[in-house]
Assembly symmetry: C2
Homo-oligomer: 351 residues x 2
């Protein structure tokens, strides 16, 4: 679990104080800032840079690659030897990048060596997550999804969660409507997949139900998006992340990972593209999703696989079927009787 959670409107202003007791003489705090803020001087001036602290603009045009993690970690090791901490400020990609870099500051080898379950053996450097978009749950999760040379898979370990997160609903105010929707739906889809999954227990259920109810409240019941909607989305993301920390996601994630791996489709929109066609697996959830899409007048891309080659379909199928835990959660221990290459090909064909 994340050790320290600060929640509250304006709590970003406490960052200097939060970091102070974790500063090690001579070693900088390193801020990885979402490139979205690159030219936002007002926001950048609020980052409490001290001494030799380093501000790195994190390029998350694409979701983080293991090579990018290695590049940043090498740069920091060469320049500083060691750092006091890594602070990620941004969306889910920046959260994941910050977690991965802090792990690679203390673990030997390359980031790709740690893609998997419980492969990380040494405690990471102090790490802080500050979301500026909510929904992914990356701020609380035990993984950090990375695209490596052979797979798209996180570093799933006890050393992966942040030591500290700062949840300030002010920071997610004004996220563009489409981005807000896609990322919010990541949370909604998490919940549907977790609550419908065979791995579900009462811990995950209690979080999943609450997160789902908050998503329904803000995306279906309320007629206006207001400050309280931001607050609820931030907590829904947190609770949704807690829900899958103890269970797993399902079909939408398993299929969309293939899409992202091949086409670089971003996670939130990728999940929406896939979930849009999963009535067979999640009838009630997909029905409700369609209502939310209509209400918010979102255009979900279609035909994204229209011009792909057989080899490309095979790559996606390979990546997707590799997510065994997700399929097992979704379809049960005998999932291989219920899902095969042909069926998956037909799903990809619809997207």
């Amino acid at each position: 679990m994340v050790d320290y959670v600060v929640y509250g409107r304006g709590s970003f202003n406490q960052l200097d104080e939060i970091l102070s007791s974790h500063r090690v003489e001579g070693q900088p705090m390193v801020f990885l800032l979402d490139h979205h803020f690159e030219n936002n001087d007002a926001f950048k001036s609020r980052i409490p840079l001290r001494g030799n602290d380093e501000l790195i603009i994190a390029d998350v045009t694409h979701e983080p690659k293991t090579s990018y993690v290695d590049e940043i970690a090498s740069l920091l090791k060469n320049k500083f030897g060691q750092v006091s901490g890594i602070i990620g400020i941004g969306g889910g990609s920046v959260m994941d990048l910050a977690k991965a870099v802090s792990i690679m500051m203390t673990n030997d080898g390359m980031a790709q060596d740690y893609q998997g379950y419980d492969l990380v053996k040494k405690k990471a450097v102090y790490k802080v997550g500050i979301p500026t978009i909510s929904g992914t749950g990356a701020e609380v999760s035990r993984t950090c999804v990375l695209t490596g040379p052979t797979k798209k898979l996180g570093m799933n370990s006890d050393f992966t969660p942040f030591d500290q997160i700062v949840l300030d609903p002010e920071l997610i105010k004004g996220v563009p409507k489409n981005q807000n929707f896609y990322t919010g739906m990541d949370c909604y889809i998490h919940c549907v997949e977790s609550l419908d999954g065979t791995f579900l227990n009462t811990f995950s259920q209690s979080y999943g139900e609450k997160a789902l109810a908050m998503c329904q409240e803000i995306y279906l019941k309320k007629d206006q998006w207001d400050d309280n909607s931001d607050e609820q989305l931030m907590m829904a993301s947190y609770a949704g992340g807690m829900s899958i920390a103890y269970s797993q996601v399902g079909v939408a994630h398993a299929v969309s990972y293939g899409l992202s791996y091949l086409l670089g489709t971003k996670h939130g929109i990728g999940n929406c593209i896939v979930f849009n066609h999963l009535q067979e697996f999640y009838p009630q959830g997909v029905d409700e999703f369609h209502k939310m899409v209509d209400k918010h007048q979102i255009e979900i891309p279609k035909g994204v696989c229209a011009n792909l080659t057989d080899a490309q379909f095979d790559t996606m199928i390979e990546v997707s079927l590799g997510m065994k835990l997700l399929w097992e959660n979704a379809l049960g221990a005998d999932w291989e009787l219920k899902m095969n290459r042909e069926k998956l090909r037909s799903i990809y064909g619809k997207l």
Copy 2:
């Protein structure tokens, strides 16, 4: 926050494995076991004692006193110098005792010196909480309520929460009906006080609403108590504790602390005795509480203050009015205009 949470039916069987990486050569794990289990050899045999590990039967006939904390910590320091960890197995009193003893294993002076907010300065020894009764939220809280020579107040600090908790719903199966009800109502009353309080934020609200809904489900809607009720109560306790971690309790707790201080009334039943008469402050919650009392045919004690002297009433009033944060949460910053000695005397008179 608690760093590690293991949840699941039968998860108590993983305790040996959970503790193994925290064992320090020559230093024992110390198990504080609720005296309720003193003669339960079947359960005691499941505690993974190794090497010089120590099993201490924790006498929680009365809620923990600072003197009892000092006594156990001295005994352990004299016998072992230092210990690998403290594992509390029992109800809320044992949770609080385990947290307090682990703090006193590394902090100088006496337990009473640390009753208050952020007075603990050194990290405690490794500590684990394993609830066998659910409702108090002590397994996740940032405090450990203790009765000292001058006050009933916890050691509220960043070093107080457990490093690890093990939530195994099997362990709370078969708690006697009255005990289950009183402790469950502690959770219910937490939620009402938190949700109605002026300190509420969306973090606390999301947890409080979910915990409240689970209490309503198991104590009002369901007709039979079953295994799933145990699971839901365990999660309600957890979520209720998380809710007040970021807000505060209110009138029922402020009044019942006075009662406990003077008469030694246990926390759960004390809250029920008080809440029973708080229609003025929590009309909807008290109404629903009465329905739950009726449904479960619980006899809430009455007339507990019938034969007290004026001096005794004054003591209770003193203790209660000292809980300023609770009153402020309940009645607002100007609470002293709304609550005074006379009014409080009349509340105590009704109990």
